[in-house]
């Protein structure tokens, strides 16, 4: 539950501010740094560290840290303010920024892994396009932000913090790399899935399994029969995903059930899988396309079918494809 946006810094307490000493600021910072990086601190937690003497002082300390860019104040989803630490290097970089740079950086930072569209940045900051570009370039060269493409809208340039992974919304999840579908990966995984599901749902038995095996039949002809189980037990996104993760077939990428479902849906469109119930799948026994009377005849695949008439240059009697087809049939006989 990442905090949504930045709040106004907590109200200043003039009287408390005076008693803030630099040592306390550092103490609070180092105390907080003991927690794992990226931890969110709420006020109650910070108070329990017993560094500030009063709530007013605590808030003053936090304000100081925020001003020095060592801390970032945010808001939890229920509206409660909270804070998160920045590293000292990061804070240093921020301190050295120009006002414009800082403005844009903070906007990008606020968006976290959702990223911000460059046009939106410009509009919100109220800068000219040239200025915006210049500032963003500067930020990029400092290694603070990076530009990525949005999979949904490829020509929208999005910015986000350098060390963040773009959210699946814009990066497109595990099946996409750099905004393009990773066809090789999809191909490999779908083959794995198909093999797994086939094994789970069909059984290879010899043709005529209920006859005395003939001596000659060393390797009897096999055919597949549906396995004896209820359709609720057929493979589902969950069980297929478990197979894929446990087999450690994919490194680096994490696939969630939702993405697995997406792949299975796509395979269903392909005709490789068939949906048996709301959640379960099986493979098609024979996913090849059949022929039908129309496409077997020469007209079915004729490139000039629409031009062919009763009279004119293209007719049934002058048709070269027909001659070919008839000759082929004659050879078959």
């Amino acid at each position: 539950m990442p905090p949504e946006s930045k709040t106004e810094p907590p109200p200043d307490d003039e009287s408390a501010l005076a008693s803030v000493g630099p040592s306390k600021v550092d103490a609070l910072y180092s105390k907080c740094a003991e927690a794992p990086q990226g931890t969110f601190f709420i006020q109650r937690e910070l108070a329990s560290m017993q560094i500030a003497e009063s709530t007013g002082q605590l808030l003053a300390l936090l304000q100081e840290l925020t001003d020095r860019h060592l801390m970032k104040s945010l808001e939890l989803h229920d509206g409660q303010p909270c804070w998160v630490l920045r590293t000292r290097e990061e804070a240093e970089k921020l301190r050295q920024m120009s006002a414009d740079e800082r403005l844009l950086y903070q906007m990008i930072d606020d968006a976290q892994n959702d990223g911000v569209w460059s046009k939106a940045l410009r509009a919100r900051a109220g800068l000219t396009p040239q200025r915006t570009n210049k500032v963003l370039k500067a930020l990029e060269s400092k290694g603070l932000v990076k530009a990525i493409t949005n999979v949904k809208v490829p020509n929208k340039k999005m910015y986000l913090l350098k060390d963040l992974e773009p959210s699946p919304e814009i990066a497109g999840g595990p099946w996409q790399t750099d905004g393009e579908y990773d066809l090789a990966l999809i191909h490999a995984v779908s083959n794995l899935v198909e093999k797994y599901v086939r094994e789970k749902t069909w059984k290879q038995v010899p043709v005529g399994m209920n006859r005395l095996p003939q001596d000659i039949e060393e390797n009897p002809r096999m055919h597949s029969v549906p396995r004896n189980m209820s359709i609720q037990l057929y493979p589902s996104a969950k069980s297929i995903l478990r197979y894929i993760t446990e087999g450690q077939f994919i490194k680096e990428k994490r696939i969630t059930e939702g993405y697995m479902e997406e792949l299975l849906d796509m395979m269903t469109l392909d005709g490789r899988l068939e949906k048996m119930s709301a959640t379960t799948y099986r493979t098609a026994r024979d996913s090849s396309f059949g022929m039908n009377g129309f496409v077997e005849a020469p007209c079915g695949t004729c490139p000039v079918f629409d031009l062919c008439g009763n009279e004119g240059e293209i007719t049934a009697s002058t048709c070269a494809y027909f001659t070919e087809w008839i000759d082929a049939r004659a050879e078959d006989r």
Binding site: V207, R211, N228, L263, R285, N292, G293, V295, A297
Partner: protein, 695 residues
């Protein structure tokens, strides 16, 4: 029927070719004039063509006898004529119908059908005479009576021709003989593709082929033909009765001559007179009511016309179903021969006039397609079981869908689950039909088999040891095995059967949602076509669009997990071919392509109509090519058909000529086979489910 009336001229072209092929030039000329003018009177026809009144009358009589046109005289002085598209197209299907009937009831029954087709319609007395000519006609006819299509038909036709008022049918000179000859050949051909369905018919086919080959070789064929002879009038009547009970042939009724438009008018007028005192209702509710009432009345008119006349005693009905069951068993098992029962045949009214019912054929074709589909998707034995279920249910299905349904009302949930009990089926119903030699274990998971039949084990390779003898499985276990197969049918994403109820102590009841399956079948054919005409990705795109509705490029990419750039080409290719539709919606006031959404979507109904149209066109081209090929060898064919040459080909034809003749026969067969295949596609696209609001 309504959808066909909207059909574009391509169907007209096809039908004219078919009529020309079967009934000769004059009939087809008149037919084409009528196609052009639409519903018209004799005088209008004469004005619209160069034919003389006499010629037109001759043509019309042929067409009426064959039920290819409707006629209606609202005012007794003027009669209006109108094309019956359904029937005209069905000319292509007579051969298929014969083979279906042969598959179900044996060769004798199919022979009756072929006779009936030759006549168009005939009275029972005519059929009696055709099979058992009265002694005063040529006596040596009798020995050849039962001989397959080729020779019986012209003879029978000739006989009827002498005795019926419609002598013109066959009196039109050149077409008579050659017409029925191609007729016979075609039947063989259209029959061919069916055979890969049922193995049992493979033998039959072989038999048939050898039959035709050896038809001059009497010694060879005699024994076989003897079995296929109808020996007594009682047997003939019994077969007619059987076919009527199952709805394959129906009594000719005045309503059969009414075009859909006339039927509608008559029904509407009647309802207006009866319910609304001759005034058009004004309120919206009343108008809606009227639509429903008219549909109901039309159904009543039709059902009265179709009612089998012999069902006076309800008690016999059950028994008669048994009659056809036994013949089903015969065909599935191919073990013992069907023999006529001893109970007295129905007292057939000799004046009863009967015709074939093409609607029933659609039902049978649907069965065949479904069985083939199951065989591909599950297994052969499961398909056999499904076939038995479908055959049993066919009895209560005169047609695939109701062309005049009640206006749609939101079904209340309680009624939505109601299924006509005559369309429910249990494993018990079919266990008797299935051959006891059919190995029910095949096609099931061996573990599932052992759950039912204990005391066996599964070997390493997957064999069951020791093997279970299919013949010795007790009744109860057979039932359970069959149910296992049926469950597989219901699990399949096609939902071949749907679970209805399992009451305590009773077998599980199933029903089949034909309409839904039919739509899936249409989708499948569309997929097949796209898969061949475009590629696999095209099919994937269509499926994605079908599932998600209108999508822009990005969304298509997401659904297919592909990069949008790769999809663009597929979309435009499919849009060109008419399988998907595209749409551009401007986001701003200006119509700039950059500032627009580019959407694509798929409409099954539209694609279905387009594909049907293309298929008709493909069929027309096949017929045209056939005519062209025939033209190439015209002189040779004329020579080969000469009476002195027939039977002495080796003597009178040079080796080159024989070779050319053989080649032509091959070409002819290939083209007819292909026509049959395209006809199967037409059936799926057009006949199994009514025009529906696209889903």
């Amino acid at each position: 029927m309504p959808p066909l009336q909207r059909d574009p001229p391509i169907l007209q072209e096809l039908c004219i070719l078919l009529v020309n092929d079967q009934y000769g030039e004059l009939a087809s000329k008149v037919f084409s004039v009528l196609c052009r003018t639409g519903r018209s009177t004799l005088a209008a026809l004469a004005r619209a063509s160069y034919l003389t009144g006499k010629q037109i009358k001759h043509g019309l009589v042929t067409l009426i006898q064959q039920h290819l046109i409707f006629h209606y005289a609202a005012d007794p002085r003027v009669t209006f004529y109108e094309i019956d598209w359904q029937q005209a197209y069905s000319l292509l299907r007579y051969g298929r119908m014969a083979s279906m009937i042969e598959h179900r009831y044996g060769k004798k029954a199919s022979n009756i059908l072929l006779n009936l087709v030759t006549f168009g319609h005939a009275s029972v007395a005519d059929l009696n005479n055709a099979y058992f000519p009265p002694p005063d006609t040529d006596s040596d006819n009798e020995s050849e009576d039962g001989e397959a299509n080729g020779s019986t038909l012209p003879k029978a036709a000739a006989y009827v021709a002498n005795h019926s008022l419609h002598s013109l049918t066959n009196g039109d000179g050149p077409m008579t003989n050659s017409g029925s000859k191609t007729n016979g050949a075609k039947k063989e051909n259209t029959f061919l593709p069916n055979n890969n369905v049922a193995n049992s018919s493979v033998n039959n086919k072989a038999k048939r082929v050898s039959d035709t080959n050896a038809s001059h070789d009497h010694e060879m064929a005699d024994a076989e033909e003897d079995e296929n002879n109808i020996r007594t009038i009682a047997e003939l009547h019994e077969l007619i009765h059987l076919l009527m009970l199952n709805g394959w042939i129906v009594r000719v009724n005045a309503a059969h001559y009414l075009s859909p438009g006339d039927t509608h008018e008559i029904a509407r007028q009647e309802i207006l007179e009866e319910e609304y005192h001759g005034n058009m209702p004004t309120g919206t509710k009343d108008k809606d009511n009227l639509v429903g009432q008219v549909a109901r009345r039309k159904r009543r008119i039709r059902d009265e016309a179709l009612a089998a006349p012999h069902c006076q005693s309800r008690k016999r009905k059950r028994e008669d179903r048994e009659l056809d069951r036994s013949s089903k068993r015969l065909k599935t098992m191919g073990v013992d021969q069907w023999t006529p029962r001893n109970h007295p045949g129905p007292q057939d009214d000799e004046t009863l006039v009967v015709r074939v019912n093409m609607e029933k054929l659609s039902v049978a074709m649907r069965t065949e397609h479904l069985v083939r589909l199951v065989e591909k998707r599950l297994s052969k034995v499961t398909a056999k079981i499904y076939e038995a279920m479908l055959w049993t249910l066919e009895y209560n299905q005169p047609r695939c869908y109701e062309p005049w349904p009640d206006p749609y009302v939101r079904p209340d949930p309680a009624a939505a689950t109601y299924v006509d009990p005559s369309l429910l089926i249990t494993a018990k119903d079919i266990v008797k039909i299935l051959s006891r030699h059919l190995d029910l274990c095949e096609g099931l998971d061996p573990e599932a088999v052992l759950e039912v039949v204990p005391g066996h084990r599964i070997e390493e390779k997957g064999n069951i040891a020791p093997p279970i003898k299919p013949f010795d499985i007790p009744f109860k276990q057979r039932l359970q095995l069959i149910e296992k197969h049926i469950w597989q049918l219901s699990f399949d994403p096609f939902n071949f059967v749907t679970w209805h109820s399992s009451l305590n102590g009773k077998c599980t009841e199933w029903h089949i949602e034909y309409d839904k399956i039919a739509k899936t079948m249409i989708q499948r054919e569309v997929d097949n076509t796209i898969g061949t005409r475009a590629d696999k990705l095209g099919v994937k795109l269509v499926r994605a669009l079908k599932k998600k509705g209108r999508l822009d490029e990005m969304e298509m990419g997401e659904a297919m997990m592909m990069n949008p750039n790769d999809i663009r080409a597929i979309v435009s290719d499919l849009a060109m071919k008419g399988f998907v539709q595209t749409q551009e919606i401007p986001k701003v006031d200006r119509r700039e392509s950059k500032l627009s959404w580019h959407l694509a979507w798929f409409d099954l109904q539209r694609t279905r109509e387009k594909l049907l149209h293309d298929t008709y066109k493909g069929m027309v081209r096949l017929m045209q090519r056939l005519a062209f090929e025939k033209e190439q060898v015209k002189e040779l064919l004329a020579k080969a058909e000469r009476s002195d040459v027939v039977g002495n080909e080796d003597k009178y034809l040079s080796p080159g000529e024989r070779e050319a003749l053989k080649r032509f026969q091959g070409v002819e067969e290939a083209l007819w086979v292909q026509l049959g295949r395209e006809d199967e596609l037409v059936a799926i696209l057009r006949d199994f489910v009514g025009p529906f609001v696209s889903v």
